[in-house]
């Protein structure tokens, strides 16, 4: 029952043939929105919803990259530590003040961050494919490396932006908005659109799905499996860097808790969104929806008055499982 996006023509996927599994995460999200409204009328306030959407940006953006990695049959556990590392390098660079002019400095720092992210991803991809090691182990290793490097760079403390002017110039990237839409939300949309285009409309995207469905068949079909795999990790690295670009202006610092457990949240978002953990299916918009679901569940927990703070983890877990069950039952009805 694997989705054979690779072989189906794009035209056949439109109208009438809409896959219920693709819709299911959105149904689950709608169900949560109703629950939230029942729990606390403030939940549907514009401010609150915008807060939640904005906050989901980090996980959503990283999870878009994870969708590529996972649908190609890989896994990246290092994204949380990588976020902290990229953020640390970026802030340290900005603190050197080697470039005059705030805008120029920010632009170069952003390019640097994306470059570092891509290199980190390349390292993950190259070790996995050239070294023929399970991605679980490789990225577990690099997770430790990135985390330790961050702590080393921070000398055990946190890395904070020193120049107040630069901080003020950068702040709007998280807190600013265009026509009332916070910039991080626009970034999510842009990343998702590019991701969806890459995955659904290009040869590379079809290769990713083919490699994830069956590596041997893909190889015999002449697909450069290792290159495709490696590229998915590079995309993941770039996504991490983009998430960092939005993260740094929020609190202006990288700390030892930056990015802690983001890898699990990203993977959860991907799976909730309908991407198969074993590869071969990738759903970008489902992933975005999954990231929103995670953030909404957390938000509802704090807004509700009847869950003890000790039990929040249990209720969150239960809600995620129920949301998945709702999805599955929708699929079965078909």
């Amino acid at each position: 029952m694997t989705d054979t996006t690779a072989t189906k023509s794009a035209a056949r996927r439109s109208l009438g043939d809409i896959d219920l599994r693709a819709v299911a995460p959105f149904v689950a999200l709608a169900f949560l929105l109703v629950l939230g409204a029942l729990v606390n009328p403030n939940f549907l306030g514009v401010d609150n919803l915008l807060n939640v959407l904005t906050r989901s940006a980090f996980i959503a953006i990283i999870a878009v990259g994870a969708t590529f990695v996972i649908s190609a049959g890989g896994l990246d556990l290092s994204v949380g530590a990588m976020s902290a590392f990229v953020a640390g390098v970026m802030i340290l660079f900005m603190n050197t003040g080697v470039i005059g002019g705030d805008i120029a400095m920010l632009a170069v720092a952003m390019l640097l961050a994306v470059g570092v992210g891509a290199l980190c991803g390349l390292a993950n991809g190259a070790i996995t494919t050239v070294g023929r090691i399970e991605p679980f182990i490789v990225t577990l290793g690099t997770m430790g490396i990135f985390r330790a490097l961050t702590i080393y760079l921070a000398e055990g403390g946190s890395i904070a932006m020193k120049a107040p002017d630069l901080r003020a110039a950068y702040r709007p990237i998280y807190f600013g908005s265009v026509f009332g839409v916070p910039i991080p939300i626009l970034v999510i949309l842009a990343v998702a659109l590019i991701g969806a285009f890459l995955l659904y409309r290009t040869a590379f995207g079809r290769h990713v799905i083919a490699v994830g469905s069956n590596e041997d068949v893909a190889r015999y079909s002449g697909i450069p499996v290792n290159r495709v795999r490696t590229l998915t990790y590079v995309i993941q690295g770039v996504c991490v860097a983009i998430a960092v670009l939005v993260y740094v202006p929020r609190l202006g610092a990288a700390t030892p808790t930056t990015g802690l457990l983001w890898e699990l949240q990203a993977i959860t978002a991907v799976v909730i969104g309908g991407t198969a953990l074993k590869g071969g299916v990738g759903r970008i918009w489902g992933t975005i929806c999954g990231a929103l679901i995670l953030e909404v569940v957390g938000n509802i927990m704090v807004l509700s008055n009847f869950v003890s703070e000790y039990l929040i983890g249990a209720v969150q877990g239960a809600i995620i499982i129920i949301a998945m069950l709702v999805q599955r039952s929708l699929v079965r009805k078909r």
Partner: protein, 314 residues
């Protein structure tokens, strides 16, 4: 001839000095958690600084500082340190349950044991116990809020992680505000993380239309809280009370920041105090056995400069 004589006298003196030093050669091992968040980062920094200072003060003293990422590796590190032959151990254990026995084994080798911050499950193991005062950290915060709000107002609390330290601080806080009309609107865990505290504070702001004060007990979390408040542009929150003694927050107190009027001390430098007392016990034969509990000092604009360490990472 005179030169030679002087030379040999000098050489003799050096020999004597060397002998005296050789007799006083002692080793203190310091086993602490690796820097996994701001506060432990401060612990590592102060331990290393104090190690340098002590080695200068007591010629012949060797101080080995060893950090460990988790309880199990700390137990291994304790064994490794002991086999090197140590006279005293200063340790901030990852957790009490796991490390009480490994530390007891070190003690059985005749090593002087100083425990910092987290007490062991068996109190007889530690010769000297140095710690901050968790219940007082909460109580001082509660009392300050009670006084500043004239005994009436709405307060939200952001807790750390569900462990004993957090529980003690929260009980202390409740004692501090007891008998007043201070209402605690909500308590949620912020996991001692800036990002999580930011989220929780955003949600509090959406949930409650009127908040007078915030208690976060931790300076790291206060960073996220302040950012959430400034984003929401809410004017009702009068101040945020945190604690620990992070340099950025102490600086705010020093500068008279209205949102951070005071800070409550739970200093990572306590490890340095413990090392100092241990060395004094070894070399000066001072009676240092017992419990040494640091005050949860209220840091105000007046005394803030005494607690400001601009070079520390925390």
């Amino acid at each position: 001839m005179r030169k030679l004589l002087l030379g040999s006298v000098a050489a003799g003196l050096m020999l004597v000095a060397g002998l005296a030093q050789a007799q006083e050669t002692k080793t203190i091992a310091v086993s602490i958690p690796a820097a996994d968040h701001g506060w432990t980062g401060g612990v590592v920094y102060h331990a290393q600084e104090q190690a340098k200072r002590l080695e200068q003060r007591y010629p012949g003293l060797k101080v080995i500082v060893k950090t460990s990422p988790d309880g199990a590796s700390q137990a291994n590190a304790l064994q490794d340190l002991t086999t090197q032959g140590i006279d005293a151990l200063v340790t901030l254990p990852h957790n009490s349950d796991e490390l009480t026995d490994p530390i007891r084994q070190v003690k059985e080798k005749g090593v002087f044991i100083t425990v910092v911050d987290r007490a062991l499950t068996d109190n007889s193991v530690a010769d000297l116990y140095v710690a901050g005062n968790n219940p007082a950290l909460g109580r001082v915060a509660g009392e300050y809020i009670k006084e500043k709000l004239n005994g009436k107002g709405n307060v939200v609390v952001i807790r750390g992680l569900p462990i004993v330290i957090d529980e003690e601080r929260n009980k202390g806080f409740d004692e501090g505000i007891a008998g007043s009309e201070i209402k605690v609107l909500d308590r949620q865990f912020g996991n001692w993380s800036r990002d999580d505290a930011f989220k929780v504070m955003q949600d509090y702001l959406a949930k409650f239309p009127q908040i007078d004060a915030v208690w976060t007990q931790d300076d790291d979390m206060a960073v996220g809280v302040l950012e959430a408040i400034s984003q929401a542009k809410r004017e009702d929150i009068q101040f945020v009370i945190a604690g620990a003694g992070m340099k950025d927050m102490i600086k705010k107190v020093m500068d008279g920041d209205k949102m951070i009027p005071v800070d409550i001390l739970y200093p990572p430098a306590m490890v340095a105090v413990a090392m100092d007392l241990t060395a004094a016990g070894l070399y000066d034969h001072l009676p240092v056995r017992g419990n040494y509990i640091l005050d949860a000092t209220l840091v105000t604009k007046e005394n803030a400069k005494d607690f400001y360490y601009p070079d520390s990472p925390f």
